[in-house]
């Protein structure tokens, strides 16, 4: 209705176009580097190496992607095939996202629904860890993981990142909106704590879970510093690490075409998750279906 009102007035159309123009400009600025990357992944290394990359697609696309995907055929030292790195990244992102959701929804359930001694102490302890991102506690965490012999393992890669104060707090806030009477009705119906969790709390949380999954998957996929420390062998490299390692250190020419192809491939899973879960994601952010 508000949109219709702008049209009949003179100049209304122009006023409508200004925001669109601004948005389009924004999209261009945002999209151009991605476009360059995609184009770059279709040319050979020599063309890019000369320093003036054409803005139209080249003919090396299949070659580039094939060699990035499997074994290296480029100039530089052997690099880990993208398919292995993507797999590592996928495992890491999934375990982190699902692990964070699982742990935090259970902690939030405890804090929101149960009265136990020191409940608020635990709540504040969780809250305070918000102030301690991975980077701050990275040295002691590394020490612990190394002593446990978890270097170069999926466990070492993911477990230290799984605890999540943010997700716990989000779930707690949502749980507090579940009316007491619903909890009591379930008690009278005979549902114990576990049943209530499975039959009522989980289904009511599903849009929140979906929204968090999208956010946390991308968070996990994009991890850089921690995987850099914890992975030594090429077999364990994640794709974000792999890309940086592919940039040569001056001894050999850098295979920019392969880097571009790898980058494009690395973008696909997060994009897929967002696109597939978009409907749920928006729903989870906007309403709580009650």
């Amino acid at each position: 209705m508000t949109r219709d009102r702008a049209n009949p007035r003179s100049g209304g159309r122009l006023m409508d176009m200004v925001p669109h123009l601004i948005l389009m400009l924004g999209v261009l600025i945002f999209a151009f580097p991605i476009y360059v990357t995609v184009i770059g992944s279709t040319w050979d290394a020599a063309t890019i190496g000369r320093g003036n990359l054409p803005l139209t697609p080249g003919g090396e696309m299949l070659n580039n992607y094939a060699s990035a995907w499997s074994e290296s055929q480029g100039n530089r030292v052997m690099h880990t095939p993208v398919r292995i790195m993507m797999w590592n990244s996928l495992v890491m992102a999934l375990v982190i996202a699902l692990g964070k959701i699982a742990i935090s929804i259970i902690s939030a359930y405890a804090v929101a629904f149960f009265r136990f001694p020191l409940r608020m102490v635990f709540f504040w302890m969780i809250f305070i860890t918000l102030m301690l991102p991975v980077e701050v506690r990275i040295i002691p965490t590394y020490e612990v993981v190394a002593n446990l012999g978890l270097i170069d393992s999926y466990a070492g890669l993911t477990i230290p990142l799984i605890a999540s104060a943010t997700a716990t707090l989000l779930f707690r806030q949502f749980f507090l909106t579940i009316p007491d009477e619903l909890v009591e009705a379930a008690k009278i119906d005979g549902a114990g704590a576990l049943r209530f969790f499975v039959d009522v709390v989980l289904p009511l949380s599903r849009t929140n879970i979906a929204a968090l999954f999208v956010i946390l998957f991308i968070y996990g996929w994009n991890q850089y510093l921690w995987p850099l420390l914890i992975t030594n062998s090429a077999e364990m490299e994640t794709v974000v690490i792999g890309i940086t390692k592919m940039i040569g250190n001056g001894e050999a020419a850098t295979d920019w075409n392969l880097i571009m192809a790898t980058t494009v491939l690395a973008m696909l899973p997060p994009v897929a998750v967002v696109v597939l879960m978009q409907r749920w994601f928006v729903k989870g952010l906007v309403d709580s279906e009650k």
Partner: protein
Amino acid sequence: MATVDLNRVRKSYGAVEAIKGIDIGVADGEFLVLLGPSGCGKSTLLRMVAGLESITGGEIAIGGRVVNGLEPKDRDIAMVFQNYALYPHMSVFDNMAYGLKIRGLPKAEIQARVAKAAEILELGRFLDRRPSQLSGGQRQRVAMGRAIVREPAAFLFDEPLSNLDAKLRTQMRVEIKRLQDRLGITSLYVTHDQVEAMTLADRILVMNHGVAEQVGTPLEVYQRPASLFVAGFIGSPPMNVLDARFDAAGQGVALPGGTAFLLPRPRPDMAGRPIKLGVRPEHLAVTSGDGPLIVTVDLVEALGADTVVYGRLPDGEGMVVRVAGLPFCREGETLRVGAPPDALHLFDAETGRRLAD
């Protein structure tokens, strides 16, 4: 079906005593209404019966079995909440069936019970819907259905109609009454609405500040209120209460202005003592000239069937008169008003309790 017995039941929240010792025996199949103003402890009492609040003192027995230590699910009760408390993500069918599934009833039995409840409540067409796709009245019926399918020993209702609009409330009131008559299940029903209480109850327990002021049938509570509190709470507009004094012989009572009323039964023992005199607005009659009370009219409310006149006595005390029919007087006029002797209620001036008559 079962009796519900409360034996000197008390509840404290820290230093605050919410329920100060309540005794009541609810007969098998009886409909007991807990009536009282907001904050008097009705919900607390009901929730203690349900097992949702712990019992500080005394005993609660359902069907002769003390339930103090039992979980809500083991008390064989079903509860209907003010906000319905339906599971938002379940269909109407699943909402009703959930408690039965947990109890492990066979599928066919669940089907049959839900179908029967749905038929009684006319919910058959809605079984696949979500609560959000129902109107308030329909949600209320689903909440009732969830209670019915359990076939419990007792129904507990906590202000179940408060969220409905006036018309629906009247309609649902009638439905609840009919349903309870038909099923004959012992029911405890909390409300602050006296009309609900009067129309639904076999007996009313009037509560005030965690104390039972009176237990009685609706007519007993109306005709012989046990205290000034009950007298003021039941009836609309509320009873007129005037300061008065027994005459020297205890034959009658007199207002400070001198107006005297003869009592049906003399009370020589009370001669000369102060008293609170109560008379209901609807029991006052406007007389042609000899009424003992002179009322100056402040405000006239025409309700259609009735007219309510707000006025004052010569000494400034307020007086409300309710008369059948259309308005018959104007603001500023004076009326002569009288009351028959058996419409007078006498209350102790200090304790507020009704004088034995």
